[in-house]
């Protein structure tokens, strides 16, 4: 598994240059690595450490703090069922039980076919639409047991492939800043970028 590709190194260079200090780009670069491989590999973390001039331990220290970074392989689709207060009051516990039975895995595990990883997650800010879940961070509202069964069938049948990218891809739109519009009134990590990134 993989270091960042040349295309992603070029993207990383753009991202780092937006920050006053290169270390600030660590979380965005971890997202980039996860988008590339579907999870966070040791090789990618090592590569990011080199690009930012920090140690692999520092990269791991930050990566391990955040729930979204998966340091083990996960399914193509992460199905995150919220069981916090508003969803709990509206039947989320039953929904999670149903999902565990239907998928044959406990929360936190991946189905044998590698398609779905089930998670029992904290509030995802859709409390008025309870019970709710996310598939690779795309919402499904007021989910019933039947609705969940249909969702699982659609995911396994590849019918949502156009709507929901594989795990690791967050937003389908990236911020682009035209060079002639960048104000650059703050300090920039440009010198660090020039030093460490292959040109």
């Amino acid at each position: 598994m993989a270091r960042l590709t040349d295309a992603n190194v070029a993207l990383a260079r753009q991202i780092v240059a937006r920050y006053p200090r290169s270390r600030s780009a660590l979380v965005p670069l971890l997202h980039l690595a996860q988008e590339q491989d579907g999870w966070l590999t040791e090789d990618a973390m090592q590569h990011i450490a080199e690009l930012l001039g920090i140690t692999p331990a520092e990269v791991l220290g930050t990566a391990s703090f955040y729930e979204m970074f998966k340091r083990e392989e996960v399914g193509r689709y992460l199905v995150n069922i919220c069981t916090d207060i508003a969803c709990h009051l509206n039947g989320a516990d039953d929904l999670l039980d149903h999902a565990q039975q239907t998928l044959g895995v406990k929360a936190g595990r991946t189905t044998d076919d590698g398609i779905i990883t089930l998670e029992d997650v904290q509030c995802i800010a859709a409390c008025t639409e309870a019970p709710c879940l996310q598939v690779n961070y795309r919402y499904r509202y007021k989910v019933t047991s039947d609705g969940l069964d249909q969702l699982v069938a659609d995911l396994r049948g590849g019918r949502l492939a156009g709507e929901i990218p594989p795990h690791g891809t967050l937003a389908s739109v990236r911020q682009q800043i035209p060079a002639d519009r960048w104000a650059g009134t703050g300090p920039a990590a440009q010198a660090e970028v020039d030093e460490r990134f292959p040109s």
Binding site: L26, V27, P28, P178
Partner: protein, 437 residues
């Protein structure tokens, strides 16, 4: 019943299908306030916000204009950071603002940057919100291309960059100093205040303003109509309008923009939400997110006004109201909230790291039928070690308010519904022998 005819200040484009695009935003008056602000003296912009008495909409409710005024003069560079890390259970409003009206937030942010003289701004969006990130990225791309962000904005000579930054899943990062740590590429653990008040020692130890998404989204309206027009809404103490997400056992859960100070909790429940489901009675409600102490039937007629709700022993917090009807198992509900804080404790302070975990485990064993007679006292004792005296406003033995937040539902349920605990404890069979002293 008070349903006022206050205007929709921040939710006016939610039903507009292209409200999130630059065209749709401009067609409905967008970016005229930015032009107006750029023609004003920066100090005059801050003055309008002070006149509006715009209280921060993130949770603490601190006046935004006053916060800006804490920046030390002539210390540069300085930064503005948008807190879009909405994660408090029950809270759902910043995400809608980012998804459906991203330009309104960007315009508000630009006005703030101009007022405080920021060199650069960072828009920190919760990692789990893919659509909000897409909408904000698209909106920023449009705004940069149109000369609204970046170099020499609208030919005014004022320049500022806005960088979109993704979080990666951690509730604690909603705390402003933890958010700054996260933005610096670190584990998102809060800093001690003092000395690390963001206004003086914030991002990269430079003066920094951290404002909530909803707070900044109000600025275009305030600059367009004037701070006095905003302050004329409400009751003087709490001004303008505010978004309230009402969830739980109501017929029409939803996010409603209502006038502060005039509207009551009962108006929200009965008028906006169509009452409690199946005509049931209220058992309790959470007035301002999972961190807030619970309120009850006798509090329904309180107005949505910060000092009034503070005086009643709770807070409006993040505008998240969770309604629990008479069928609710409040011990279960209490554990669900405590479990949240235990899972989300960052581990920096011992009383929170150990205490919230113990609280969650004690509640779990009570619910599993293995509670001990002394468990209620132990819950209160552990809570007291995190938040001494269990008073309101809370005291804390921790760096940030996360730990004390976990004690709020425990104190509420033990004080009000002790008999609900007793029901569990009477039928309880602890697994090990317990010496009752």
């Amino acid at each position: 019943m008070t349903v006022t005819n206050a205007p929709l200040i921040i939710s006016s484009r939610w039903e507009q299908s292209d409200g999130h695009t630059l065209d749709g935003y401009r067609r409905t008056g967008g970016y005229t306030s930015l032009r107006k602000a750029l023609g004003m003296d920066p100090a005059a912009v801050t003055e309008e916000v002070k006149t509006a008495n715009l209280l921060g909409r993130g949770g603490a409710g601190f006046p935004a204009g006053t916060k800006w005024g804490f920046l030390p003069p002539n210390v540069l560079p300085r930064y503005v950071v948008v807190n879009g890390d909405e994660s408090e259970p029950g809270t759902y409003k910043d995400r809608i603002l980012m998804e459906r009206d991203p330009h309104q937030l960007i315009e508000g942010l630009l006005i703030c940057c101009y007022a405080v003289g920021a060199a650069q701004a960072f828009l920190y969006v919760r990692g789990e919100m893919a659509l909000a990130q897409e909408r904000l990225a698209a909106a920023l791309n449009e705004a940069y291309a149109a000369g609204l962000v970046g170099k020499d904005i609208l030919g005014s000579g004022f320049s500022v960059d806005i960088v979109l930054h993704w979080g990666a899943g951690a509730y604690i990062v909603g705390e402003e100093t933890a958010l700054i740590e996260s933005l610096e590429g670190e584990r998102g653990m809060p800093r001690l205040k003092p000395p690390f008040f963001p206004a003086s020692k914030g991002l990269y130890m430079q003066p920094t303003i951290v404002n909530n998404v909803e707070t900044l989204s109000n600025l275009p309206w305030i600059i367009e109509r004037g701070g006095a027009a905003f302050a004329a809404l409400g009751n003087g103490k709490s001004t303008g309008t505010r978004l309230f997400a009402v969830s739980g056992h109501v017929n029409r859960p939803g996010v409603y923009e209502v006038e502060m100070g005039q509207t009551t909790f009962r108006d929200l429940v009965e008028h906006y939400c169509g009452g409690i489901r199946e005509g049931r009675a209220l058992k309790a409600f959470i007035p301002g997110g999972a961190s807030s102490p619970w309120l009850f039937e006798e509090h329904l007629d309180l107005p949505l006004c910060k000092p009034t709700v503070d005086a009643a022993g709770s807070m409006l917090g993040s505008g998240a109201i969770v309604i629990m009807d008479e069928t609710t198992d409040v011990v279960q509900a209490c554990w669900r909230i405590v479990r949240f804080f235990a899972r989300e404790s960052c581990g920096k302070c011992t009383p929170c790291r150990e205490g919230t975990t113990w609280l969650s485990r004690i509640l779990e064993r009570i619910l599993a039928g293995e509670g001990r007679p002394s468990d209620i006292d132990m819950l209160m004792d552990v809570s007291d070690n995190i938040s001494p005296g269990l008073v309101w406003p809370p005291k804390q033995t921790t760096i940030c308010p996360l730990g004390p937040s976990a004690t709020a539902p425990i104190a509420s349920v033990v004080r009000r519904f002790r008999s609900d605990f007793d029901k569990y404890l009477r039928a309880s069979h602890p697994r090990s022998e317990v010496a009752v002293v």
